[in-house]
Amino acid sequence: MTYTYFPGCTLRTKAKDLDHYLRISAEKLGMELIEPADWQCCGGAYSNAKDEIANKLSSVRIIMDADKNTGKVLTVCSACHNVLKRVNDDLKNDENFAFKVNNYMKPEVPYSGNVEVIHFLEALRDEVGFDKLASMVVKPFTGKKIAAYYGCLLLRPGKVMAMDDPENPVIMENFIKAIGGTPVIYARRNECCGGYAVMEDPAIAAKRSGAIIENAKDMGADLMVTACPLCMYNLKKTGPDTGIYYFTELLAEALGLKED
């Protein structure tokens, strides 16, 4: 299994753990990651206004690049994943967008429409397989109650992200079971942490994130896991003992790869 791996800007700086634990786990699981030499930021957020084209071009370049080699863009940051999957969907299904992009970029070979953008969780489920993952676990999280925090970007819009049922997801819970833990189901697992509004008003993020943590703890969670650096930041800001980790860190630990 070979992938064009797109880590994204934040994984180079504040979210190095998310990236590092993914890389060592992927190697153990037999996934080959090819990182394009000169990738640029995905754009950070998908612009919903239909007349915003220019700020989607860096994502288009990443997708077109993958079209020439592996045909699969692997992501892990929830935000990069959301942007890349949605731009890929636009390239395939929005004629007007595809036309303008082609006019602007004039690619030598037109986009084949065959690139898949997949999240590391999807690769674990669909290509490695949670059963195989479970069989490779050497340090299981036995007895640990772990709350999956999806947030908003991983699952929505459901029709485009198509990762799981956006209202009743199971992918992260099944991941938690594969590493030997006990998943905790709680109502706010797919509600927004406040996201980028932390720049508008930090009190908004504190309220939204606080409600999520309280809900997870009320339902008995010992730990929480996320795939998103911004969720991580907003949730951690609410207090010292949030017990939130990147899911890749727990994966590496379960596989016996975490240096103490």
């Binding site: 957020a45 927004c192 908004i204 951690k236």
Partner: protein, 125 residues
């Protein structure tokens, strides 16, 4: 000033599909920060009250979390309407919501670059 047709065109939303059930507002995690709620955005665009919405703080309180989009029984996609109005609002000369001078005070050492990228995308032109 943006008119109704322009908002409808750049959002791709048809407000006439709304059956005014209020589910978007009921499910919105940030509704308590808003003067106009998601269902009111839909209603007010339908009635051409664009200027009122563009001048309201509510337009900056949406988290673009898409809960309303996912849960609307009629596929109206209120968040896209709100973003179209916000986009038009910040495109006006001198109306960036996030000013370069304000940024240093709003970031700290732990904040991921993603926050600034997203905020730039959503609050500036």
């Amino acid at each position: 000033m943006a008119d109704k047709e322009q908002i409808i065109r750049i959002s791709g939303v048809n407000p006439l599909k709304c059956m005014k059930c209020g589910k978007c507002t009921a499910t919105c995690p940030n509704y308590d920060e808003m003067e106009y709620h998601p269902h009111q955005f839909v209603y007010m665009v339908e009635h051409g009250e664009i200027d009122k919405l563009m001048a309201s703080e509510s337009v900056y309180k949406c988290l673009t979390c898409f809960a309303c989009v996912e849960r609307c029984p009629r596929g109206v996609e209120p968040a896209k309407l709100i973003e179209a109005i916000r986009t038009e609002a910040v495109r006006r000369q001198g109306c960036n919501r996030l000013k370069a001078d304000d940024i240093p005070a709003r970031i700290d050492d732990d904040m991921p670059g993603q926050a600034l990228m997203m905020a730039t995308r959503k609050y500036t032109r």
